[in-house]
């Protein structure tokens, strides 16, 4: 069984994000980019399943400009067997990503699709377990048991394969890509597609009107009595 994992090149989580002066988006020029931490977790889970003998191959997929190949190489260095790069220089909105992914699934026919965070199951008509904090695969019965982190606690689902799983931070601790593996990853194959070759039209059905910084957090006020607190909650914060 093959496992397909999507990995996305995003602004590194430790970088201080700035909004562009023209408010059309955030500054990405000269900013450090890394693999989305959720994608790292997804890839780690796929690698563990393969290492336990339940899958034959892990395919890493990334969509975006040519620099996405660097992120793919990191995925290959972690242990993915081969990569697929769908070249797209304009922004890809989630529905376009899902449509492209659907085509790739039809070509590669994986038994499991493990993603950081991405909608796709509806288009494939596959069962899905989101916010997974534990994944147990039963290859014989072709069933995967997923523990989901939900607001009330943990929900356990049993999904027939092929299935979609998206990750929660608690799922695993991703491995480091070691230097020898990074060197080996240079010779692992990356297949390139364009959306046109996959017969997917990239139509953006969303338009970004404006991006602004969140309002600066005002400093707190220490009140001197309960009455003052009630007064402020009622008349200033308007919450009671």
């Amino acid at each position: 069984m093959k496992i397909m994992v999507t990995i996305k090149r995003v602004i590194d989580y430790a970088v201080k994000i700035r909004v562009k002066p023209d408010k059309t988006g955030v500054v990405t020029q000269n900013v450090k980019m890394s693999m989305n931490p959720f994608c790292e977790i997804a890839l780690e889970e796929a690698l563990r399943i393969k290492e336990s003998g339940l899958a034959s191959e892990v395919i890493a997929v990334s969509m975006g400009p040519s620099q996405s190949i660097d992120t793919l190489r990191t995925g290959l260095a972690m242990g993915a067997d081969r990569g697929i790069h769908v070249e797209a220089n304009d922004s890809l909105y989630p529905l376009s990503v899902a449509k492209i992914l659907k085509k790739l699934v039809e070509i590669e026919k994986p038994g499991l699709l493990i993603l950081g965070k991405q909608m796709i199951a509806g288009l494939l008509n596959w069962p899905q377990g989101t916010f997974a904090s534990k994944v147990v695969l039963d290859k014989e019965k072709q069933v995967v048991t997923v523990d989901r982190e939900v607001d009330d606690g943990i929900e356990t689902l049993s999904l027939n394969l092929p299935a979609v799983i998206t990750t929660d931070l608690r799922l695993n601790q991703p491995r480091y890509a070691t230097l020898p593996n990074i060197m080996k990853a240079k010779s692992k194959p990356i297949k390139k597609y364009t959306p046109e070759e996959l017969n997917v039209e990239i139509k953006s059905d969303l338009e970004i009107v404006e991006v602004t910084e969140p309002p600066k957090r005002k400093s707190g006020v220490i009140v001197s009595s309960v009455d003052e607190l009630i007064d402020k909650l009622k008349n200033e914060a308007n919450v009671i």
Binding site: D12, A14, V31, Q173, L179
Partner: protein, 574 residues
Amino acid sequence: MLKFISHFLKSKSNLKSTLSNSRVPISRNFCTTPIRDSIQYDVVIVGAGPAGLSAAIRLKQLCRQNDTDLSVCVLEKGAEVGAHILSGNVFEPRALNELLPQWKQQEAPITTPVSSDKFWFLTKNRAISLPSPFNNEGNYVISLSQLVRWMGAKAEELGVEIYPGFAASEILYDANNKVIGIGTNDMGISKDGSKKENFQRGVEIKGRMTLLSEGCRGSLSEQIMKKYNLREKGGAEHQTYALGIKEVWEIDEEKHQPGAVLHTLGWPLDHKTYGGSFLYHMKDRQIALGLVVALNYQNPFMNPYEEFQKLKHHPAIKPYLEGGTVIQYGARTLNEGGFQSIPYPVFPGGAIIGCSAGFLNVPKIKGTHTAMKSGMLAAEAAFGAVNEGLDMNTYWDALRNSWIWEELYKARNYRPAFKYGLIPGLALSGLEHYILKGRHPITLKHGKPDHEATNAAQLHSPIHYPKPDGILSFDVPTSLHRSNTNHEHDQPPHLRLRDPKIPELTNLPVYAAPESRYCPARVYEYVAAEQNKLKLQINAQNCLHCKACDIKDPKQNIKWTVPEGGGGPGYSVM
């Protein structure tokens, strides 16, 4: 007892998963520490900075010229090339013109020529214009982090292998005490020393020649210089240092003059403290602003970060910043020892290049061009050594016959003159600059080493620094956030105390804890512990890798070692 057992079992099971990851059959007997992978190269370079990348590029150029090839590996502890690079920077392209003469056509990020050169003496409220001692014609205002990124790409095009995110933590020796390469950090070790789920053993990167280009006060370079007595061998004095604290601002269009260069002396520093500020206009409405403070300051209550915040409120500086925003913040120490402090840079199996040896021209305040040239000269010697069995010591001869030597010799007395105080220093510097030009046999010696220069706290009174206003001046956490610094928090602290009792027994009572003031990242804090005593807390995660603590700690008790690769600041426009 139980804790020991659970640690042992935990590490055993981690070991098992490590072994199965590397596809070693479980049935094989394992030792408690797995053997490291070993990878062999012709030349190993530690640090992807201007010196290291110049050496790498030069090596590959020599290979092409001589129709041969050498494998070159550059290791970089930052998460990407350029992430740990911070510098003023008014760039003199002399070495780059020799290395990559087509840099302009190849679109190097060197596009803003110096357009004006001002020099002010600041008092609390005024700025007195002085004749500029610099000659920056032909130089450019750049972001060194950006230039190094570009150089990294050029190096890779030539076939150099660069691996960011890997920290060289150990030197490897053969049975004859010759350096044969380096070892990278083990990754995935928890704060208490036990192995985590994702433990990965480091690797050995072996080289027939190892070049150390770790920048100022490089951790491995310092080790090597001690081991092979390179300072004595070169007849060198101790190195002296300064701490540079820098911000990049995006300012109002009308206030921006691309290529404008400004240096100041005087306020906020006193007459006993050497240092000054810089304000350089880059492109895209960005300016680089910083304060450099020599680390042989005497008053333990001095806080270089707070002095920098004060500077920004000066009536002559403030107008540039009003209406602007800070994009990045960072700090790094730099060499001020110049000619007198150059160690013998060759050791069995390798050499030291760039600021790790120390080729910064202090009166020019430029070290990039000499660092690059030293990398090129070392590459030429290394090529001869690896390819034809020639002597690596020819690097030392090449240095002494190069323009680096000539330049640093001429500049040798400016900084040492200031040990007599600000006014005598300025007077002597004026004499040197306008009349003597270094053409005389006198070579002034340095004063005390920086860490010995700190007076006991009782000789001074605490300095009151104003609170930050949040618009021009900021608190350390806010600034730190702008350095994009991060480390995996669950790892052993990389700042090691040789004697854990000295902070509370000496630093705090005698010197009033100077580390809580000179560290630009607030790594060192004294917090209330049991019995109302104060205890040192090391917030290693904040570390900017500036090395100030390694230099300035009065008892040299703090040792900076390299943390897990990939951590530290994330500079992109510094």
